[in-house]
C-alpha cells in the first residue's frame, strides 16, 4: 500500500498549509466519496486533482535455475499545492516518486533504489486515461491487455510484463476504502492480484529470464491518515488456488489497532469486503535491524474472519533504509502465507512506523 512513504510528503504538505497565511492556503483537494463508480482502463490512469496517488507492484519471481526472489516497484504522484498559478514548465505542481527493490536471499538484504522528479514532460509524469507513470527510463504502463514495468538502478534492473488473470478487485465498498472510523479518511482503491509475470531480471551483472506472480495496488486519496495513527501493517497475498487476500490495520501510538479492513476474493467466488472486526494481526517472532535498531515482527498470526493464517518472510532483513535520501525507514518484503502448516499463498507484507522514534 506504500502509505508510509507518501505520509512524509503528506505530513509536510499539511504542515506547509498550516504555516501559510490563509490567503495562500493550499488548493481544494477533492474528497473521496463513497458511491463513486470506478471505470477501466480510465481509472487506471492518474487522478491529478487528488492529493496523493500510487501504483504499487509487488511479487515473487523465479529464474530458470529456480532461485526465488521478491520484487517491488512503486510510483507515487503527489499534488503539492505549490506553484498552481505558475506558468513555468518546472512548476512543482505534481511530483512523481519511484521506489524499486529486489529481495534476494543470496544478498541477505534488499537491493533498492529510488527516484523523484517534478512532473515535467517528457522526463517524468503520471498520465490520465490509462496507467502510464514514468521517471525517465523507469516506467509502469498499461498497453492493451497487460502492464509493463522497466527499472534500471545500476546495481539491479528488471523489465517485467504483467498479465492479469481477471478483472480489477475493488477494495472496500466498490473501491471506496475507509481508513478510519471517520469516513473522510478514505481512498479510492483497487487491486490487480494474480498478475502473471514474465520478463528479465539483472542482478550481480547477470541478466536472467524470470517468471512469477505479482500484485498491483492503485490507490488515490486526498485525506488518508486519521489523527493519532503511527503506522500500519498491510499484506497483499496471491493465493495458490487462484484467489487473493488483502488486509491492513492502522496502528496507534501504543501499537493497538485503530482500524482494520481487508478484501478476500476466493478462487472463482464473489469478492468479500472484510470489516474491522473480521481482520486481526498478532505479531509473533521479532527481528531487530542492525542498521536502525528498529524492531519488526517478521512472523505474524493473522485472523481472517475466523481463519488462522501464519505469515513467514522470505528472509528476515527486508528493511528499507533510505534515511540518507527521503528519510523513510520501513519493512517491506516478500512473505509466504501458511494455513495449518501448508503454504497457501505468497505475497508482500509492509510494516511502517516502527523506526520513527529512532530518526535523528
Amino acid at each position: 500500500m506504500g502509505w508510509r512513504r507518501i505520509w512524509r510528503a503528506l505530513a509536510f504538505a499539511v504542515c506547509g498549509a498550516l504555516a501559510m497565511p490563509a490567503a495562500k492556503a493550499g488548493p481544494e483537494y477533492p474528497p473521496v466519496l463513497p458511491g463513486t463508480v470506478l471505470r477501466f482502463p480510465a481509472d487506471g490512469g492518474a487522478h491529478p486533482d487528488f492529493r496523493t496517488e500510487w501504483w504499487y507492484v509487488t511479487g515473487w519471481i523465479t529464474d530458470e535455475r529456480g532461485v526465488e526472489r521478491g520484487f517491488q516497484v512503486t510510483f507515487f504522484r503527489v499534488r503539492t499545492g505549490i506553484g498552481e498559478d505558475n506558468p513555468s514548465r518546472f512548476a512543482p505542481r505534481q511530483l512523481v516518486l519511484a521506489h524499486a527493490a529486489i529481495a534476494d536471499p543470496a544478498a541477505g538484504r534488499l537491493l533498492h533504489a529510488e527516484r523523484s522528479e517534478r512532473a515535467l514532460d517528457p522526463l517524468a509524469g503520471a498520465a490520465a486515461g490509462e496507467t502510464r507513470v514514468w521517471i525517465r527510463d523507469w516506467q509502469l504502463a498499461w498497453t492493451q491487455d497487460h502492464y509493463r514495468s522497466r527499472v534500471d538502478a545500476g546495481s539491479f534492473a528488471f523489465d517485467l510484463r504483467f498479465d492479469p488473470s481477471g478483472p480489477p478487485v475493488l477494495n472496500g465498498d466498490n473501491g471506496f476504502s475507509q481508513k478510519a472510523a471517520d469516513p473522510k479518511h478514505a481512498s479510492h482503491y483497487y487491486s490487480r492480484p494474480q498478475l502473471a509475470v514474465s520478463g528479465s531480471l539483472r542482478v550481480d551483472g547477470a541478466t536472467v529470464p524470470v517468471t512469477g506472480r505479482a500484485w498491483l495496488d492503485h490507490e488515490w486519496s486526498s485525506e488518508l491518515l486519521p489523527e493519532g495513527a503511527r503506522g500500519w501493517d498491510w499484506i497483499g497475498i496471491n493465493l495458490h488456488d487462484g484467489g487473493s487476500l488483502m488486509a491492513f490495520r492502522m496502528r496507534d501510538e501504543r501499537g493497538g489497532a485503530l482500524w482494520s479492513a481487508g478484501t478476500l476474493r476466493p478462487a472463482g467466488g464473489e469478492t468479500r469486503a472484510l470489516s474491522s472486526g473480521q481482520v486481526a494481526f498478532a505479531p509473533q517472532r521479532r527481528w531487530r535491524s542492525p542498521r536502525t535498531g528498529a524492531e519488526y515482527a517478521v512472523e505474524w498470526l493473522i485472523d481472517i474472519d475466523g481463519r488462522r493464517l501464519e505469515l513467514r518472510p522470505l528472509m528476515d532483513d527486508q528493511e528499507l533504509d533510505s534515511r540518507r535520501s527521503t528519510g523513510a525507514v520501513y519493512w517491506e518484503g516478500a512473505v509466504r502465507l501458511f494455513e495449518s502448516g501448508r503454504e497457501i499463498g505468497r505475497g508482500y507484507l509492509e510494516m511502517t512506523g516502527y523506526a520513527e522514534r529512532l530518526r535523528m
Binding site: F12, G16, T80, N86, S88, R89, F90
Partner: protein, 835 residues
C-alpha cells in the same frame, strides 16, 4: 678562496653601505612586487576556478547561452538523450537587493535533481517541517543562502530578505542554507520554477549541466548534442569554460607582471651602476691583488659573488615583503587588484614555494647580471697598468655603438607590427625593452653632442665640465642611463594614462548624451522595466523623449566568452562613439556596430556579415561600423532597438535614458520617476554622476599600475643619485687637483653640479623622446592587443616639463651633495694618493 672572498669582496659591500642598501632594496622591491602580483593572482585564479568547478559540480558538459538564457524546452530534450545520465537545469541571475549596495547571485535549481549533478548547490532546509524537506525547498518564497551570503547580508534562517523583481520589491523567506557552497562564496538558491515566475523568466533557463553515462566519450557526446541546439546556445566542457574565464584576465595579469619585471630590471641596473663604479674605484686594489697572485677567474668570480649576494639578500627580503604585500592586499581588497576581474573572490594567503623560489632566483640573476659587465671589465684589466693611478679612466671610455642602437630601435619598430601571442602582446613588451636599450646605447653619442654644443661659452667652469664629460663620457653614460630609463618609463606611463583618461572622458560624453538615466539593472543585474513602466516614464511632464536600452549577452561560438548585446535607438550609428565612419548597410539589411574588442576577437570589419542569435534564431546583420568601448573587454555589439524587438518580440528594457524638456529640472523628474516606479527599485543618475563614478572606477583600476610604475621610477632615481655619489668619491683625486689649482670648494661644488645637470639634461631629453616612443607602443600595441581598445594620444606637456625639470634639479642636487662628501678630506691627501 672563500675567506678571501669574504674579506675582499663581500666585505666591500659593507663598506659602501648606502649604495649596497639601495641596490638591495631595489631588487627586493622588484622581487616583492612580482611575487605579490603572482601570489594574489595565483590565489585569486585558484579560488575563481574552484568556484566555477564547485558550481559546475560533477557536470561533464554544460549547455549555456546568453545571460538571459534560452528556451527551457531544450532541457527535456537533452535530459532524455541516450548519452545523458543526469541533467540539471539552472537559471542563474544577479538580483538587486533594495537597501543594499550589493546584488545577490541567485541560482534557480531543481532541488530534486541538483544532488545528482552539483551537490554543492543542494539547499538544506532549516528546521524542516519534520519530513517534508523536499517540499520545503520547492516553496515559491523559500530562499536558501550560502554561509557567506548569510554573514554578509546579516540574515539567517527564518528571517526575510527583500529582493527586486523587475521594479517590484518581493519579500522572500530565508528557509535554510546552502552548506556546500564553500566559505567565501555569497550565493543563494531557490526553486527553478519560483525564480522563473518571480523574475519574469518564464520559459527561460541559462544553463543545463549534464552528467554523461559511464563510457560515453565526452567529445563525441559534445558534438552530437551541439548539433541540435538553437542559435546562440553552445555545449562547453566545464574546463573550457573555466579557461575562457581565466583567459579574460590573462592580459591584465601579464601587464602587472611586466611592471614588476621592470622594477626588477631597474634593480639589476642599479647593481650594475654601483658595481661598475666600485670596480673603477677599486681598480688599483684589484691590480695589487692580481700582482700578489690572485688569478683573473677568481677576481671575476669574486665580483660576481658580490652581485649574487646583493641579489640573494634582496630576493629574500623581497619574498618576505611580497607575502606581506599580498596579505595586505587580501585584507583590503580580497583577490582583486582593482580591475574587477576577481571581485567577490576572497582567497586565503599561503606561502607560495614555487613562485618564491622562482623570484628568489630572478633576484639573484638580476644581481649577477648587474655585476657581469664590471666583473668582465676587471678580468680584462692589465695589473701592471692598472697599478698606476688614473687607469680607471680607461673603463669610462665608452665607445658609441650607433649600429647596435639602430638595430635595437629598428627591431622595436618591426616587433610592433606583429600580432599578440595567445592574447598577450609579447612582442610589444619586447619592443618596449628594445627601445629602452636603444636609448641607453644612443646616450654616449648624445652626451658627446651635448658637450660639443656646450663648449661655446668661455667661462672656465663650463669648459672644465665639458672637458671632463668629453674625456670620460662613460661616467656620464653610467649616471645618465639611469635617468634615461626612469624618465622614459615615467613619461611613457604619463602619456599613456593621460591619453587613456582623456579618451575615456570623451567617450563617456558621447555615450551619455541624455540628461537623466534610469537603470533597473546596474552591474549586470536582472532587473528590468516593462513596457508599461517605460510608457509611464515617457509620459511624465518634463520628459521630452526617452531612449530605452536592452542589454543581454550573446554566445557566438564555443571558443569565446559571450559578447554583450546593446539594443537601443542608435540613429544610424550617430549615437555611438564610432572609430572611423559608419558605412550604412545596403537597403533591407539590418546594421550592427561592433566594438573594437569584438572587431579584433572575431576578425570583423565594416561591411562584414554578422549573424546574431536573437531569441534562439540566427538573425543576419551587416557590420556598419566599429565603435570604441572601454567597458566590455570581451566584446560588444550594438543594434537598433527596433531590430531587436522585431526579432525577439521582447519589449522590456534594462535602462532608459531620459531627455528633459526645456526648463525641466533633474530633481523634479527624478522624483516623478521614483513616484512612478517606487522607492529603491531603480537607480537614477545624472550623466555627471555616472561620469564621476566611471572615472573613479578607471582610477581604481589603474591604481596598482600607477603604484608599481612609481616604484620603478623611484628605483631609477635612486640609481641616479647613487651613481653620482660613487662617481664623486671616485674623483676625489681630481677634486684635490682642482683645489690645488686654486678653485674654492664652492667652485668645485658648482662644477660637479653643472656636470650633473648637463648629464641629467642629456638623459632626460633622451628619456622624454624614448618615453614618447614607449608610450606609443603601449597605446598602439600593448593596450590594443591586451584589451582591444584604442585611444587618442594626449601628451600632458606641462606635467612632463615639470617632471623633467625636477629630475634635472634632483640630479644636480645629488651630484652636489655627493661632491661635498667627497671633498671633506684634505686636498693634499687626495692628491698624494697619486704618487
Amino acid at each position: 678562496m672563500s675567506r678571501v672572498l669574504g674579506r675582499i669582496f663581500v666585505a666591500s659591500l659593507a663598506r659602501r653601505r648606502l649604495a649596497t642598501a639601495l641596490s638591495l632594496f631595489a631588487i627586493a622591491l622588484g622581487v616583492a612586487l612580482g611575487l605579490a602580483v603572482q601570489i594574489i593572482h595565483g590565489a585569486a585564479l585558484d579560488e575563481f576556478g574552484r568556484g566555477m568547478r564547485l558550481l559546475s559540480g560533477e557536470a561533464d558538459l554544460q549547455v549555456a547561452g546568453s545571460r538571459d538564457g534560452f528556451d527551457d524546452a531544450l532541457y527535456g530534450r537533452l535530459a532524455m538523450r541516450d548519452e545523458v545520465a543526469d541533467a540539471s537545469p539552472v537559471v542563474e541571475l544577479e538580483v538587486r537587493l533594495p537597501g543594499h549596495d550589493r546584488s545577490l547571485r541567485i541560482f534557480g535549481i531543481d532541488a530534486l535533481r541538483v544532488a545528482h549533478v552539483h551537490p554543492a548547490l543542494m539547499p538544506q532546509v532549516a528546521e524542516a517541517p519534520r519530513d517534508g524537506a523536499v517540499l520545503a525547498a520547492l516553496q515559491p518564497d523559500a530562499l536558501f543562502l550560502s554561509p557567506a551570503a548569510q554573514a554578509e547580508l546579516g540574515v539567517s534562517a527564518g528571517d526575510r530578505l527583500d529582493v527586486l523583481a523587475a521594479t517590484r520589491i518581493v519579500s522572500l523567506r530565508v528557509a535554510g542554507a546552502v552548506p556546500g557552497a564553500g566559505q567565501g562564496r555569497a550565493l543563494a538558491v531557490m526553486d527553478i520554477a519560483a525564480v522563473q515566475q518571480l523574475f519574469g523568466r518564464s520559459d527561460r533557463i541559462t544553463r543545463i549541466d549534464l552528467r554523461l553515462k559511464p563510457g560515453v566519450d565526452v567529445a563525441a557526446a559534445r558534438n552530437a548534442l551541439a548539433a541540435g541546439l538553437p542559435a546562440g546556445v553552445e555545449v562547453l566542457t566545464p574546463r573550457a569554460a573555466e579557461e575562457l574565464a581565466a583567459g579574460l584576465s590573462r592580459a591584465y595579469r601579464v601587464n602587472l607582471t611586466m611592471l614588476a619585471a621592470i622594477a626588477l630590471v631597474t634593480g639589476g641596473f642599479l647593481v650594475f651602476s654601483t658595481q661598475f663604479l666600485a670596480v673603477a674605484r677599486r681598480r688599483q686594489e684589484f691590480a695589487f691583488l692580481r700582482a700578489l697572485g690572485l688569478d683573473r677567474g677568481a677576481l671575476m668570480r669574486g665580483l660576481l659573488v658580490e652581485g649574487a649576494v646583493i641579489g640573494l639578500a634582496g630576493g629574500l627580503l623581497g619574498i618576505a615583503l611580497g607575502h606581506g604585500f599580498a596579505a595586505v592586499a587580501f585584507d583590503i581588497a580580497g583577490g582583486d587588484l582593482g580591475a574587477g576581474y576577481f571581485s567577490g573572490v576572497t582567497p586565503a594567503l599561503r606561502f607560495d614555494l614555487p613562485a618564491s623560489g622562482t623570484y628568489l632566483l630572478l633576484g639573484v640573476l638580476a644581481g649577477l647580471a648587474g655585476a657581469w659587465l664590471p666583473a668582465r671589465e676587471a678580468r680584462r684589466m692589465l695589473p701592471a697598468r692598472a697599478l698606476k693611478s688614473g687607469d680607471e679612466a680607461s673603463m669610462f671610455r665608452f665607445r658609441p655603438h650607433p649600429r647596435r642602437a639602430a638595430v635595437c630601435l629598428g627591431s622595436a619598430a618591426v616587433l610592433c607590427l606583429l600580432p599578440p601571442l595567445g592574447g598577450v602582446p609579447v612582442f610589444g613588451y619586447i619592443a618596449v625593452a628594445l627601445i629602452l636599450v636603444g636609448a641607453v646605447l644612443v646616450l654616449p653619442m648624445l652626451v658627446r653632442g651635448v658637450t660639443r654644443v656646450a663648449s661655446r661659452p668661455r667661462r672656465a667652469l663650463w669648459r672644465l665640465a665639458n672637458a671632463r664629460l668629453a674625456a670620460a663620457p662613460g661616467q656620464g653614460v653610467v649616471a645618465g642611463a639611469g635617468v634615461v630609463a626612469s624618465v622614459a618609463l615615467a613619461v611613457a606611463m604619463a602619456i599613456m594614462v593621460a591619453s587613456f583618461r582623456d579618451s575615456v572622458d570623451r567617450w563617456l560624453t558621447t555615450v551619455l548624451p541624455a540628461d537623466l538615466y534610469v537603470s533597473a539593472s546596474p552591474q549586470g543585474t536582472s532587473g528590468f522595466l516593462d513596457p508599461a513602466a517605460l510608457e509611464r516614464i515617457a509620459a511624465l511632464s518634463g520628459v521630452s523623449r526617452t531612449m530605452p536600452v536592452r542589454f543581454d549577452t550573446l554566445r557566438l561560438d564555443d571558443r569565446h566568452l559571450p559578447v554583450s548585446l546593446i539594443a537601443r535607438p542608435l540613429d544610424g550609428g550617430r549615437l555611438l562613439p564610432l572609430v572611423g565612419l559608419s558605412t550604412p548597410p545596403p537597403a533591407g539589411e539590418r546594421p550592427a556596430w561592433v566594438s573594437e574588442a569584438m572587431a579584433d576577437l572575431f576578425a570583423l570589419g565594416a561591411g562584414d556579415r554578422l549573424v546574431l542569435p536573437l531569441g534562439g534564431n540566427p538573425v543576419a546583420f551587416r557590420v556598419a561600423g566599429v565603435w570604441r568601448d572601454y567597458a566590455r573587454q570581451q566584446g560588444a555589439v550594438a543594434i537598433e532597438l527596433a531590430d531587436y524587438r522585431a526579432a525577439t518580440g521582447d519589449l522590456v528594457a534594462n535602462d532608459v535614458s531620459v531627455f528633459l524638456a526645456e526648463g525641466a529640472s533633474f530633481d523634479t523628474v527624478a522624483a516623478a520617476v521614483r513616484d512612478v516606479l517606487g522607492e529603491n527599485t531603480v537607480r537614477i543618475a545624472s550623466p555627471g554622476e555616472i561620469r564621476a563614478r566611471s572615472l573613479a572606477i578607471f582610477d581604481r583600476t589603474f591604481l596598482v599600475t600607477y603604484a608599481m610604475e612609481a616604484v620603478a621610477v623611484l628605483i631609477g632615481l635612486f640609481g641616479v643619485s647613487t651613481s653620482f655619489a660613487v662617481l664623486a668619491i671616485a674623483r676625489r683625486k681630481e677634486f684635490g687637483m682642482l683645489r690645488h689649482l686654486g678653485m674654492t670648494r664652492r667652485e668645485v661644488g658648482r662644477l660637479i653640479t653643472l656636470e650633473g645637470v648637463l648629464t641629467a639634461a642629456a638623459g632626460t631629453a633622451l628619456g622624454l623622446v624614448a618615453g614618447t616612443a614607449v608610450a606609443f607602443v603601449l597605446i598602439e600595441v600593448v593596450n590594443r592587443q591586451s584589451f582591444h581598445w584604442s585611444m587618442d594620444p594626449h601628451v600632458p606637456f606641462g606635467g612632463l616639463l615639470a617632471f623633467a625639470g625636477i629630475v634635472i634639479a634632483l640630479a644636480g642636487l645629488a651630484a652636489r651633495v655627493s661632491g661635498y662628501q667627497a671633498m671633506r678630506g684634505s686636498a693634499v691627501l687626495a692628491v698624494r694618493e697619486d704618487w
